[in-house]
């Protein structure tokens, strides 16, 4: 490994970067964002939009920062008059055929054309008496609409399909100012990762049908999270409008999903907005489930736990956080305990151009976390143990038909028919309503952050179970999910040394860097 670094100056700021670094990346280190469109760190360099023109001393012509490798002693001026005039002219050229669609365009507010025109563009158009090029909107496939009039031909979408998805179903058709993004009539844009072209599109040309006209960018609250679609653990951002999740977008994580998520994960958010939630704790009184307060419900659970012996079982959702799974086991630690998760399997769909990235067959975000904590994936065995158990705790698993001769405690977000025989029902927060962690298939522990308030009287599982454990053991009550994680890390060798601070928002494998194994 070479230790030689390249030193250069960008806008009077000195930076030091490894050889082979592109000027546009080196500029980021200097705190300078060079305006650009076709460049994207996840795609091969194209150099076509010409937006990133900068002045490099000793070079006779302006250079495009996306395709210029740094050299020692290079001096760069991104704000040189010549460069600004050139970039302004690129914006002017882009706008001559671009329609004034902002009032009806989904991209408004998160549009890179708007952003750079405001920053560096002309105040008025000079293309006044000429018709703009017009082509009708095209339906490219399952979720993607193409609005040719808005397209700036940056070719990010074409390069994504060709070089990252390795399925060239998008092309540039025609030549000159007649060019547009084309698709063969016998094909559809139904690749499992095709939705990324919508994110990649800098303008409102490629649009998600699912998100069409749902919300304005400035109305959205954004929260970092982890996709719950499978065990890959792609990092995502949840976009919410009025406390409703309306969109899922990839959040860059070079170790996991780079800049992308699959269409399955992208569509996997409606359950976060379900209205049919358990709104209050319920306890069985006189043969009926009756709404009550948390104190009463928790007291009843404690009584059940203290009063039972022998075998106990926890049937957990693979969406349960690592913290919840840990507490659910600790609560029943003095029993002969079996824990099980039901993991639904599906077809794997890799993103061919990125190593170790796929929609995984295991459609569960925390299957590895559950295994790490001693939960089996053998649902049949777990159900069998539950049948013979004195106490069964079901943790938000709505799809399992539990039959037990013991007491059933149901803690979850919705109340399924099979839980109606429960002694106690505790209303829980879902993934979007709490802080927590998942462990992905590579043993990476990743945090997700609460994005919206919990409905009714629901609380996070870490709180409800934390209260139970604290009272039963006489240990301190956890004040946050972070506190629970600390306890979890202290008692699990594979997670030793980790904490929410250390995990940050990009996650970590174990403190020694090795993958976490059960």
């Amino acid at each position: 490994m070479t230790d030689v670094m390249i030193s250069l100056t960008i806008d009077d700021t000195s930076v030091s970067v490894p050889p082979g670094t592109l000027l546009i990346e080196a500029a980021k280190q200097a705190g300078v964002l060079v305006p650009h469109y076709c460049y994207h760190p996840g795609l091969p360099v194209a150099g076509v939009c010409r937006m990133c023109l900068v002045h490099v001393e000793k070079q006779p012509k302006l250079a495009i920062a996306c395709a210029t490798q740094v050299t020692d002693g290079m001096v760069v001026h991104t704000q040189a008059k010549e460069a600004k005039v050139a970039r302004q002219s690129v914006l002017e050229f882009l706008l001559i055929n671009h329609p004034l669609d902002c009032p009806i365009c989904d991209q408004a507010g998160e549009c890179e054309l708007q952003d750079f025109v405001f920053q560096e563009g002309r105040a008025a158009t000079r293309y006044t008496e000429y018709a703009k090029r017009f082509n009708p909107v095209e339906d490219f496939g399952p979720d993607v609409l193409y609005v040719p009039n808005r397209c700036i031909l940056c070719t990010r979408c074409v390069r994504f399909m060709e070089d990252v998805a390795k399925e060239p179903v998008l092309n540039v058709s025609e030549r000159g100012d007649r060019a547009f993004i084309g698709i063969h009539p016998e094909a559809r844009l139904d690749h499992p990762w095709a939705g990324n072209v919508v994110d990649l599109c800098p303008v409102g040309s490629l649009l998600s049908k699912d998100f069409l006209h749902k919300a304005r960018a400035w109305e959205l609250d954004k929260s970092p999270s982890v996709c719950t679609g499978c065990s890959q653990g792609c990092n995502v951002t949840l976009d919410l409008r009025d406390n409703t999740v309306v969109r899922v977008r990839p959040r860059p994580n070079l170790e996991v999903n780079r800049y992308f998520i699959c269409d399955h994960g992208r569509a996997n958010y409606r359950w976060m907005n379900r209205g049919d939630r358990i709104e209050a704790p319920l306890v069985r009184m006189n043969g009926e489930l009756v709404a009550t307060d948390w104190d009463t419900a928790l007291d009843r659970v404690r009584a059940l736990v203290r009063g039972a012996g022998g075998r106990a079982a926890t049937l957990a959702s693979p969406r349960a956080s690592t913290e919840a799974l840990y507490l659910a086991r600790r609560l029943l630690s003095r029993f002969d305990w079996t824990g099980g998760v039901q993991v639904v399997m599906g077809e794997e769909a890799p993103l061919a151009g990125v190593p170790n990235l796929a929609l995984r067959a295991e459609r569960a975000p925390n299957g590895t976390g559950a295994a790490l904590l001693g939960y089996t994936h053998d649902t049949a065995a777990a159900l069998k143990a539950a049948a013979a158990a004195a106490l069964v705790l079901v943790l938000d698993e709505a799809d399992v038909a539990v039959e037990t001769k013991g007491a059933l405690i149901y803690a979850g977000t919705v109340l399924p028919a099979q839980a109606r025989g429960a002694e106690v029902v505790l209303p829980l927060a879902n993934t979007a309503e709490e802080d927590g962690t998942f462990v992905n298939r590579d043993g990476r522990v990743q945090r997700y952050v609460q994005a919206k308030p919990t409905p009714g009287m629901a609380r996070p599982a870490w709180w409800a179970l934390g209260e139970l454990v604290a009272e039963l053991e006489g240990t301190p009550h956890p004040g946050s999910a972070s506190d629970v994680f600390d306890a979890l890390a202290a008692s699990t060798e594979a997670l030793a040394g980790l904490s929410y601070d250390r995990l940050g928002l990009l996650g970590r494998t174990t403190s020694s860097g090795a993958a976490v194994t059960a």
Binding site: Y130, L153, R175, G176
Partner: protein
């Protein structure tokens, strides 16, 4: 088809010696005229020696860029670790230029000979001759010549293939040409990497123009010194050049002259001067992508690379377009802009949108709806289109616009002021 003229006494006939000589097309005829002797000589030489000879001759790329040929060949690795390729650029599409066509039509074996010598010099075993799709007759003739040469096993282990283009001027740009051979859209590539490092199929490649390669056997036969002495002005421009003269001229055609030859003599003497009763108004000496000259400038230009630069234009491909006093400079500028707008590959923003916008402004001026501010706008757009793109098609659109406005502004103003009737519908 069309027949070339008898050489004018002031021409220096080297490449065009057998233009019009149908027998020279055949292998037998070509050998009778001394053909393929130089190939035999070259194949026995060390490749570096061939390159040095061509370097010493001062031969420069005749496609338009004028880059020293021997120097270009020397960029290729001396010890091939990967297969090397030679691409012959027979995509001749620069408006005003029609010399490569003649070389292929009349001396196909001469081109093949030069190409295989070049392949040997750069240690390439494969040669692709990229012929534009519209050149159906040159294609047939080249096909025949190649079949004859292969039949006589003249090229050793060097394989020569013809590759047909399909209608794209931009494929004459060397990196776009390589993409086209690879079965892609003819988009120029960003450089670096340069072709000698990673060219066609990612392999070290040299691309040379037809006229350049046709000169190679002559250089080997008569020596680099002989070629260097063919020089009337600047010693950096040596040898002969085929000038393709067209437009408002009495005897259009290809004329071969020594570098540094006066453009005035070429037009008025060799090519028979203006049509009866007409006077010279403008001239583009190097194909439509170079700035146009007015009469004074034309009559004082020396035809070599430096001489043209001195006058504010370029020798380029040597396509000499002549405009007499009947020419509508505004209309012709528009027609050239429209050419570039049609041929833009669409990659770079300035070219894709700028060539079309420039054309629209000129069309409106010709339709009687122009404004004076349009002229400043045209100049500003031209400036924004120059020096900022992957290839120079964008600059090439700007050149005629800027030079026409500089020298013939009054014609534009006449349309805008209504002194001249519109020639296009609104």
């Amino acid at each position: 088809m069309g027949f070339p003229h008898k050489p004018h006494p002031k021409e220096t006939v080297v490449l065009s010696k057998y233009f019009g000589d149908a027998e020279a097309r055949s292998l037998k005829g070509w050998k009778k005229r001394g053909g393929y002797e130089m190939l035999e000589k070259a194949l026995a030489m060390d490749p570096n020696a061939v390159t040095e000879e061509v370097k010493a001759s001062g031969l420069r790329g005749r496609g338009g860029a004028g880059f020293p040929t021997g120097l270009k060949w020397s960029f290729m690795p001396k010890e091939p670790k990967k297969p090397h390729y030679l691409c012959v650029n027979a995509d001749e599409s620069e408006p005003g230029t029609f010399k490569d066509r003649e070389i292929m039509r009349w001396t196909p074996h001469g081109l093949l000979e030069g190409s295989v010598i070049a392949a040997h010099a750069i240690r390439a075993k494969t040669v692709y001759v990229y012929i534009r799709g519209e050149f159906t007759e040159p294609w047939t003739i080249m096909e025949q010549a190649l079949a004859e040469a292969n039949g006589a096993k003249l090229f050793g282990d060097i394989k020569v293939y013809l590759h047909r283009g399909a209608g794209a001027y931009i494929c004459g740009e060397e990196t776009a040409l390589m993409n086209s051979i690879e079965g892609k859209r003819g988009n120029p590539r960003i450089k670096p990497p340069f072709p000698a490092a990673a060219g066609v199929f990612g392999m070290p490649t040299t691309i040379n123009n037809v006229e350049t390669l046709a000169a190679v056997p002559h250089i080997l036969k008569n020596g680099a010194e002989w070629y260097k002495k063919l020089c009337l002005s600047n010693p950096k421009s040596t040898g002969t050049k085929l000038l393709s003269i067209c437009g408002h001229i009495a005897q259009p055609g290809n004329y071969e002259v020594t570098m540094g030859f006066p453009l005035k003599d070429l037009l008025y003497e060799c090519a028979g001067g203006m049509r009866p009763g007409r006077t010279l108004k403008a001239c583009i000496p190097g194909g439509s992508s170079v700035p146009m000259l007015n009469r004074e400038e034309t009559e004082s230009t020396l035809l070599d690379y430096e001489g043209c630069v001195e006058r504010g234009t370029m020798l380029g491909s040597g396509g000499v377009i002549v405009f007499d006093d009947t020419a509508d400079m505004v209309y012709q500028t528009m027609r050239l802009a429209r050419f570039y707008a049609h041929e833009s590959c669409a990659q770079c923003t300035q070219c894709r949108e700028g060539t079309a916008w420039t054309t629209k402004i000129l069309e409106r001026i010709l339709a009687g709806q122009g404004k004076m501010s349009d002229l400043d706008l045209l100049l500003e757009l031209a400036d924004n289109m120059t020096g900022k793109t992957i290839c120079v098609l964008s600059d090439s659109c700007a050149a005629p616009v800027v030079s026409a406005l500089k020298r013939f502004r009054s014609e534009f103003e006449d349309y805008i002021a209504g002194r001249r009737k519109p020639v296009l519908a609104a």
